[in-house]
Amino acid sequence: MSERRIGVYVCHCGGNISDYVDVERVVGTVQGAPGVVVAKHTMFACSDATQQEMAADIKEQKLDGLVVASCSPKLHTTTFRGVAKRAGLNPYTYNQVNIREQCSWAHTDNHEGATLKATGLVKAGIARSRLSVPLEPMVVQTTQKAMVVGAGIAGLRAAIGLADVGLQVFLVEREKKLGGWVGQFGAMYARNRKGTDLIAALVAEIQKRPAITVYTNAELVAKSGSFGNYVATVRLDETPAKELQVDVGSIVVATGFDTYQPEPGEFGFGTDGVVTLPEFKAMIDASPGPLTYRGKRVKTIAYIYCVGSRQPSGHEYCSRFCCAATAHASLRVAELGRAGARPPPEPGVHQYHLYRDIRTYGKFELMYTDSRESGAVYMKFADDAPPVVALGDDGKLKVTTRDTLTGGEELTIPADLVVLVTGMVPRKNNELMTLLKVPVGTDGFFNEIHPKLRPVETVVDGVLIAGACQGPKSASESVASGLAAVTQSAAILKKGFAELDPLVATVNASACTWCGKCVEVCPYSAIAKVAADGREVAEISASTCKGCGGCAPACPENAIDLKGYTDAQIRAAIDGMLEEKAA
């Protein structure tokens, strides 16, 4: 290999590194190493001035490799790739060396050791750079069509949005009716609009758009192809069963949630008069006047919050919507009650809210205040002393709890109705998870790539998540995430093509024996069997591969290499690292 021309920059990070690592000594050690043309230390490598200096060096010294030893690659890989690109250097010849998180911060007690380790890391980076080759991002054409799975409020709104940005849309709903949960609800918080009305309005909009094709009683059963060019198989529940295939560029998953179903006996569940929040909501929606249960007027209601939510052994998360939904339900009950009550101050219905924490976040706080001021009593119970629901001798439900605000005396509330405030749980949808390859979190909901910066994208390019399949959300939050998925779909598809990171695995066909081991470990189904020169070998779809590197070590023939991290590069890096030995 001809002599490389590599520039090396070691960063002080304003003392974060140089307080513990002798940065100048590190630079001195690598100065004049084979292929190193420029070696400098700098106070802040990421500063504008240093970036300009690097760009100037690249041009003047005709550098063909760049190494910056500073912080974590997560922070600044793209920064310095950008510098390389601006100066006319292939960005994939850039190597980031982490001497802050993995060196100076970790070894604040041993300056000499930290300096030796930093030198080793920088030498490893240089060694890897000597073997770097220019790579180009892959360009794939994208299909101008999108699929939405699930026609709840998020899916319906997303379908309309996708059609409005000019994409053809396939909307797939498992049930017979469109609308999901919201389609069954009466008045919802915060503005008392009926769920049925909201869904009817969305369905009317769908019908106005010929670009949207709706499949009900339908399920997504298979997905093949790669980013920008998926082939989705939809099974229609007809007799005889029918399957059809559609080409789509992106898939928006909006499959929603299930509600928590308490165990028999959990807070008296199963006893007459103990109902869950969805059951209670349905009762209110159906009630023309003062609330009744089994024909009798409901005068006292006890709510128990966080049933099934925030439990160390079970669903650990907060379901977010339930506090506000219950405060809203309580206001509606008060309203219904007032209709049949004597003039104020009689509130008609006595409501006791037994909670762990009230989380009516944002403007829903006002609803909580209204509910309190309407006479509802909110009582906090301790995490380790939840209320007990029992049937009294008089046939009335008795809820026993302690009120923190009066000094913790034990109190028994005689209740006509006990409402268990149950939250959202992930849908049991294993087939869909398996076929989409979208990872789920420990809570069982689909995972996004980054909760703040990439909230609707998944690790599978072109597969987006929206609504409560990602985690508990209110209707408006679900719609917002549905529209975010629309934007992301447009971003992917509207250019007509997409650029993909070239750091993917490749198969050396002559070494491959098609043992199939790589297929087993690939989490993205990116590897397929193909015929080459009359032999069966593995081929990796560059657009499906995520560059995780799982297949490379699994290959017994060493036939797989990961671009940017080739076996040769890793070996060279290890050798470079080991050059530096402690004195």
Binding site: P345, T400, T406, P414
Partner: protein, 386 residues
């Protein structure tokens, strides 16, 4: 032991006032602001919570209900405008109605129309009852007891006092029993060892002397000149009433031991007459100022006036003014005929005032000292030996 919640408690209390109290979210600002709330008896927040939650026994057995003099500072600073001071007043009304087993107090508090009717009928009854036995109205000099026979007044008075004593005692027992139980004391502790000091504090220092009202409840009074101070106006009313009551009893006593026959003419400096005159002036000043303050909504406690407030003030004011009128008439040179009628009104209204004592706002005069006794008892226990 688990206490069964009375879900309707807050509605019941609201029938006596406290319309805004549901806004309270128990922040405790009121308790922090209150100059009277102390570690051994915190209020108003805790009592509001009792009412909201439905802890009826806890509310009714709270001595703290009666340690509040409604300066209104809590209501002025309440971040949710829940009017804690107004709640305390309503809760006291509720307590008076609850301690009274005849339910008359509840009617007098919550049904203004019926209450007015009862007050008028009762006054008319006493007037007619006395007038039925009336004698001549001498024109030369006011011979009041020739007009209404003295024994009739005397025995009616005894009957009224007996009734009041019975109802009052029942109420006091009911209040004392529940407070004592909550404080972990036996009912016997009311008369047991060490009770004397606590009674002295409750009756002399705090009730008659108004020590804490005077010295600790200053905030709302600071702006007023001394003669408009809330505590002084209240004290004048109380002292005036007690002075007149004492003068009446002593006058009767003097007749009993043949020192001075009832109705005999005596000079202005004659002790009983002097006491009566001064007490009457004090009562007239006190009640008039209380009425003026309520009409002008001069302070927090005077800003929300209920029928019960007006009833007590009206009865007291009429008693005071007519009493003074009789005094005036007695010593005017030519016995004026109106003196007889004023006398009839005075006797009737005074009888009514006394008869209604356990059933009206007047009842605070018996419950507050009982509660203050337990406050003093509690302090002793805290500071006591061992």
């Amino acid at each position: 032991m688990s206490a069964l919640v009375d879900v309707g408690l807050i509605d019941d209390v609201k029938r006596f006032g406290a319309a805004d109290v549901s806004a309270c979210f128990s922040c405790g600002q009121c308790t922090a602001m209150c100059p009277l709330s102390s570690n051994d008896g915190t209020f108003p927040r805790r009592l509001i919570r009792y009412a909201q939650v439905g802890m009826k026994d806890a509310l009714l057995s709270s001595k703290e209900l009666w340690t509040c003099f409604y300066c209104g500072e809590c209501s002025d600073t309440c971040p949710t405008q829940a009017d804690p001071g107004g709640f305390m007043a309503a809760a006291r009304r509720y307590a008076i109605a609850s301690y009274d087993k005849t339910r008359l107090a509840k009617t007098m508090y919550t049904k203004p129309v019926l209450g007015t009717l009862i007050a008028l009928v009762l006054a008319a009854f006493f007037a007619l009852f006395m007038y039925r036995e009336h004698g001549p109205q001498h024109a030369s000099a006011l011979k009041l007891f020739d007009f209404i026979p003295e024994p009739l007044i005397h025995y009616t008075g005894v009957a009224v006092m007996a009734l009041v004593g019975l109802a009052g005692l029942a109420g006091i027992l009911s209040a004392a029993r529940s407070i004592a139980k909550k404080e972990g004391l036996s009912l016997g502790s009311v008369v047991g060892r060490g009770a004397g000091k606590a009674w002295w504090s409750a009756l002399w220092t705090e009730s008659l002397g108004q020590k804490r009202y005077r010295s600790d409840c200053q905030t709302a009074q600071e702006a007023s000149p001394w003669y408009r101070k809330r505590w002084l106006i209240h004290a004048m009313t109380m002292w005036g009433f007690l002075g007149l009551f004492a003068a009446t009893i002593i006058d009767y006593g003097l007749a009993l031991i043949h020192v001075k026959p009832t109705g005999a003419e005596v000079p202005i400096w004659y002790p009983v007459r002097l006491l009566g005159t001064l007490a009457g002036l004090a009562l007239i000043y006190g009640t008039t100022m209380l009425i003026v303050d309520r009409l002008r909504k001069a302070n927090r406690s005077a800003s929300d006036s209920t029928f019960a407030d007006w009833l007590l003030l009206t009865l007291l004011w009429i008693t005071g003014v007519t009493g003074f009128g009789i005094e005036l008439a007695l010593y005017l040179p030519h016995a004026p005929a109106w003196g007889y009628w004023v006398f009839l009104v005075h006797v009737s209204i005074a009888m009514e005032l006394m008869l209604l004592l356990p059933f009206t706002k007047f009842a605070h005069a018996i419950y507050r000292p009982v509660a203050l006794f337990f406050v003093a008892r509690g302090k002793e226990k805290e500071a006591g030996p061992g």
